[in-house]
Amino acid sequence: MLVALVDTRGEFEDLASTYLPIAIVVFALVLLGTLVPLFLFRARKPGLPSQKEEPPWLPIVYGAGLAAIVAVLITLTFNAQDKISAKVAHPGLQVNVTAAKWNWRFDYPAQHISQIGGDTTPTSLVVPTGTNIRFNLTSLDVIHSFWIPYVRFKRDAFPRRTTSFVLSFPGVGYHTAGRCAEYCGLKHDQMIFTVEVMSRSGFNAWVAQRQKGQA
């Protein structure tokens, strides 16, 4: 495949696998830094400890070290961000997402398919695997947020405004969940949808079947 896939899940996991160990090491250092003195430097002897000031170079060297950590983290973050928000000239599929209190609608304009859920059945987003899919997201009322935990990505849906992003779904043939993540009133917690990831041929068959059904 020539086109690079926008892999939000992969970028999240890669980045987290750098951030998390650093966080754990920092926490361990501070934990040692606060607990060790409780044993080493308890007030057993009377009198004053040494009141020597810190050497003047210490904050500067230390600050430079912190800046280096910032530089590393921000470089990794920017690289991942560039991959996630890369301009994809020819996405394999376009889906228009419309959020409204408290349901979802997925339109496939090229295929003339609309997915609309009922009162009890959540709307189903059907996507082919391994394809860059452009989503155009908007809302009809308040701000919602389109979140699919499996791909580690969410984007807010605003009224009177459309934002676009590209996602791809790794793996074949599974269901996962999606939901609204931005508090949107009474039934926010019920504003869910399902995601069905199909093989490419499976997806084409689904499209054909849906088109026949709608005709």
Partner: protein, 549 residues
């Protein structure tokens, strides 16, 4: 300020008139604290209702509508009516004392600040008695959810007015602190001889004064939108509201952090018998923190897709630098000291470690590719409760146990204090740590119902919340016991470093009942006690001494 004149100064008014009209900054601060404390209990009861509802999936205790009111009022109450007011109350009480002033600057303004806080709190909470209940658009009240169509009813209007009153209160109280630092410092108290807590309060005041107008504008526009419309009803309106709100909302995070890191710094220096380590670097870090914190607001909005994510990711991640320097100074003060492990010290260490968990998870969500997944989930709920509850509130308790003898002239009980600490420490971590996993696994915030897969961790969290409640009860018991069976505290029970310990406990109406010691460093009492030869004077003081001679 000298003792000879105290007899001619007016005495503090007692009685009802004193309660409603006293402008003694110490008295005003205590009243702000009591008001904040009242709302802390009220907001805490709402928190217990939230956690009880979340003990099991489905809706058992309250319906969805009431759940939305409860979490909205929990957040609004805790932020606008508790943490911000008590942060400033600490400054209103101790900044004049620490800079050696007989009185706060603009005392009537401070009194007005307290009255506005009460007005704001009552207004916001009156919403419970309206037909549609109180404002239930979250503590952020995003438009269009908060407009008249989507959140009808008078409760939302009362909420907006309440927030405006509370924000005005905070701005006025900050102005008093700022003016006191600028105009009321005792002779010798240069800016670089101010205690770390006073420095923290100075920057807190600056941030509040910068941030509060943005909130007032946002609320005024929201009010207008609800009555007449046509403000945010454009394609860029909702994002404009968020920019305004978070331009207030992020600096206020530091309003809820600086005072406590300052107080913890004082506690650690005193209880380690050491001058505060890296004072100048600490002040520089505070200034950097303050500057950066007004340029990071949109990291709350990464998922909107409508902001320059890289800029805000860079500024947010750069907060590592000032935060790291502050942490080095806190930890460095302990190293090589003579540490007395009292209750204030325990809370101070609890603050350092738990705030760190909040801070590290914040660095995580400062990275957009990570934040896209975790924002608006329980991960974020865990993150800001680690900073605000397990962080700031532990810092507050360190300050509370440290300064209680000064304020009341009595000691709190150490035994009950340790029980308080232990319950709170266990409770806070049980409550808030599972939230990181819940959020990562897909549980959004602000929901009263959840998928069954999240049940176990939610139960742990709920049990933790009730352990916290027990810890707070232990705190109250400690207060009552100490006030009823008084153990008198001397002027300087801990061998303090700063000027608030150079007067009786509690201090008289005009603060100092004895001549101030000479102020030649940021630890004047330490100098007076141990002499100026002990790691002293700092080079800056040496130079100015030379210039005077």
């Amino acid at each position: 300020m000298s003792s000879a004149t105290t007899t001619t100064l007016p005495r503090a008014r007692g009685g009802v008139l004193g309660l409603i009209a006293s402008t003694d900054h110490k008295n005003v601060a205590i009243r702000i604290f009591l008001t904040g404390f009242f709302f802390f209990v009220a907001g805490g009861i709402l928190a217990l209702l939230i956690r009880t509802e979340l003990y099991s999936p489905g809706q058992q205790l309250v319906n969805q509508d009431h759940y939305n009111e409860i979490f909205s009022m929990h957040g609004s109450t805790m932020i606008y009516l508790f943490v911000v007011p008590i942060s400033l109350a600490l400054g209103i009480y101790f900044v004049p004392l620490q800079v050696g002033a007989a009185e706060i600057a603009l005392p009537r303004l401070a009194l007005l600040g307290w009255w506005l806080l009460i007005g704001g709190g009552i207004t916001m909470w009156l919403g419970w008695f309206t037909q549609n209940g109180p404002g239930d658009a979250g503590w952020t009240a995003y438009d269009p959810l908060s407009d008249a169509t989507n959140t009808p009813g008078d409760g939302m209007y009362l909420w907006i007015i309440g927030v405006m009153l509370a924000a005005t209160s905070a701005a006025l109280l900050s102005a008093c602190i700022l003016a006191t630092v600028m105009r009321r410092r005792a002779p010798g108290m240069t800016l670089l001889r101010m205690p770390v807590f006073t420095w923290s309060m100075l920057m807190t005041s600056v941030l509040m004064i910068v941030a509060a107008p943005a909130l007032l504008v946002a609320m005024a526009l929201l009010f207008w939108e609800r009555v007449y419309g046509g403000v945010f009803n454009t394609s860029g309106g909702p994002i404009a509201y968020q920019n305004l709100f978070w331009f207030f909302g992020h600096p206020v995070v530091y309003v809820m952090f600086f005072p406590f890191v300052g107080a913890v710094g004082e506690v650690i220096a005193t209880f380690s018998r050491k001058r505060f380590f890296g004072y100048r670097a600490h002040v520089a870090a505070l200034l950097l923190f303050t500057a950066l914190s007004t340029s990071v607001w949109a990291h709350h909005m990464f998922a909107t897709g409508q902001i320059t994510v890289k800029y805000f990711s860079l500024t947010s991640t750069a907060l590592i630098i000032p935060a790291g320097i502050e942490y080095l100074d806190l930890v460095g003060t302990m190293w090589g000291g003579r540490i007395r492990l009292g209750v204030p010290m325990a809370f101070a260490i609890g603050f350092i470690l738990q705030f760190l968990v909040g801070g590290l998870s914040g660095i995580f969500s400062g990275s957009p590719p990570l934040d896209y997944h975790v924002t608006d989930t329980y991960f974020i709920v865990g993150h800001f409760h680690y900073t605000l509850f397990a962080g700031s509130l532990f810092g507050f308790f360190a300050a509370f146990y440290y300064w209680w003898p000064k304020v009341t002239g009595t000691f709190l009980r150490t035994g009950i204090g340790w029980v308080h600490f232990a319950l709170l420490f266990v409770g806070a971590n049980l409550t808030f740590f599972p939230m990181f996993f819940l959020g990562y696994d897909g549980m959004p915030r602000r929901v009263g119902d959840y998928a069954p897969q999240f049940t176990d961790l939610n139960r742990v969290s709920t049990i933790g919340a009730f352990i916290i409640a027990l810890g707070i009860l232990a705190w109250l018991v400690n207060i009552v016991v100490s006030l009823v069976r008084r153990e008198p505290a001397p002027a300087d029970p801990w061998d303090g470093h700063t000027l608030e310990w150079a007067t009786s406990s509690p201090p008289p109406r005009h603060n100092f009942d004895r001549p101030l010691p000479p102020i030649r460093s940021y630890a004047p009492l330490f100098d007076a006690r141990y002499g100026e030869g002990v790691g002293y004077p700092p080079p800056e003081a040496k130079r100015s001494e030379g210039a005077e001679a």
